[in-house]
Subunit: 326 residues, 2 copies
């Protein structure tokens, strides 16, 4: 079993101060490995990176079309959004079309990730609702599917028709029997797979025909990158920087999934220590390597070779991708 490989270096002055290791797999449409770092068989929880898989039954069941969902709804179903008004207002309107309120969500509340909205709410003394939860779009999708299937309100239980459908999609796309699940931060089950299985699932998204559920989801993400994350967030920045050619989704604990339709390939990446700064740097480096992110694009500078500034704005070091990714 291969050990994780060095992926991201933190330099301060002439010293390598910190270092992040990880595993990554690039898969082709047939599920074969094009390139891998570390251990492709590593069992992983892909967390929010696999929201595209969790959203598949919403379309495959006919629920999305029966409810008239648009690409904006589908992008939100795949999102870990910032809780900015553009996100929360759309989720609230979506719930209203289902004759539901914020109380129907089971994701729990937290203050928005978006710093502008966060500070505005703090200054105004506003408490967050469940729609501010970064996963509220996914949960609105679950509620839509639940209504279509005639399920009860407990849509996050593993024996609920919604989660049974999610597991079926998960195992079909990864071509694996999931070894189990963890409970995610938003209380929904998050199914485990191998890293290879997750990259295989992303490659299947990439190679699916134009009107398939898979294609509709990655098209929606690429069309509305601002709904998938938000301003100054890596997924949004990198999807914009690739001119909408690539669907990119991060997950907690240092995960990234990538769908590149024009190359019919998928990528799954896990930073061993679960750190976001490292997963963002490593996935952006792989996008440069694959030729879908320009080496001189500002997003490349921001994520692949970022200066580290001190409190007076002076550069004291750099975060950069390790040689193995270059």
């Amino acid at each position: 079993m291969s050990q994780p490989v060095p992926m991201v270096e933190i330099w301060r002055g002439p010293f390598l101060e910190s270092m992040h290791t990880g595993h990554a797999v690039i898969c082709d449409a047939a599920g074969g490995i094009i390139e891998a770092w570390g251990n492709p068989d590593q069992v992983v929880l892909s967390r929010s990176s696999s929201k595209m898989i969790q959203a598949l039954p919403l379309i495959d069941s006919g629920a999305a079309d029966a409810m008239g969902l648009t690409p904006q709804h589908l992008a939100l179903a795949c999102a870990s959004h910032g809780g900015a008004p553009m996100h929360t207002q759309r989720v609230q309107a979506w719930l209203e079309t289902l004759d539901l309120t914020d109380d129907a969500l089971r994701c729990g509340a937290h203050m928005p990730y978006d710093p502008v909205t966060h500070d505005q709410m703090l200054i105004a003394g506003e408490k967050p609702c469940q729609r501010h939860n970064n996963c509220s779009g996914k949960h609105a999708g679950f509620l839509t599917l639940s209504k279509h299937l005639g399920g009860d309100s407990g849509y996050i239980d593993t024996d609920h028709p919604v989660q049974k459908a999610v597991l079926e999609a998960f195992e079909r796309l990864t071509s694996e029997t999931s070894p189990g699940f963890g409970i995610d931060g938003c209380s929904a089950p998050n199914f485990a797979s191998s890293l290879h299985g997750m990259a295989r699932a992303m490659a299947r998204f990439a190679a699916s025909p134009e009107d398939s559920a898979e294609a509709r989801l990655h098209q929606a993400m690429r069309l509305h990158p601002e709904l998938v994350a938000g301003e100054n967030r890596a997924c949004t920045d990198l999807m914009r920087a690739t001119d909408g050619k690539v669907a990119i989704k991060t997950g907690a604990e240092g995960f990234f999934n990538v769908i590149i339709p024009e190359q019919k390939i998928g990528i799954a990446l896990k930073i061993t220590d679960g750190t976001t700064r490292a997963s963002e740097c490593a996935i952006a480096a792989i996008l440069v390597k694959l030729g879908v992110l320009a080496p001189d694009h500002p997003a490349t500078m921001k994520y692949v070779n970022a200066p580290i500034l001190n409190r007076r704005g002076v550069t004291t070091g750099h975060m950069r991708a390790a040689p193995a990714l270059l």
Copy 2:
């Protein structure tokens, strides 16, 4: 050269989701290694963990006594404080005794780490001053020493008498020639050493006679743990939890230094990936192992075996120290 060893595990449901590796050394008063994990020869930047060394010339020069500094001043000189009023008011008063204002500091400004103070300032529309910088106590100490030595205002330059004195203390305590320096977040130089050298320096603090500069500094930290960090911060929590028997100081990028006077030992620890959650867990586990932190103390539960909660407050996993530290 030994590889870093697994130190902290992140579990979600039945899965080991993430893992942190690190290096650590426990030294005795003679500078010998009692126990080590990973590579004792690892070159490290100890960052704010070595503020006690940076404060030594303040006492050894006679500046502290000439200016009538109290243990509270000395604790602040060793602090990465939260920028709460108890910290900033004392730094401001200290600067006034030097006939200086906030403008004399060279640390730069940032919003306080202390979340209560942070939110109060945000709501009130207040901008941070340099005294809110977590290193402002260290810089007030530098200014005190500079005045005593007749130095100019550029006290963070490596050729300034203040930093020359810091380097002398650093090399004397570590018994090493420093291989160089990086510039810290507060713009001061931060000298490199081996991890063993840093643990040796901490053991020398631990074994120094009662009235020495070394002893006065760790006594001040143990007497005023709330000034060294702040409420709900690991250094403060753990110093309180050890009943003031241990001086504990964290540094950026996953560093900890510990002085245990009653055992005459010192500890230095570096998490490879630079993550704070891991450095706090690992150092607390070592404190339990050494018998200075009770296994059933609330701080042990908080740092060594912390539940991971989802957004609805349900436990979904645990962060815990790896077997090598138990």
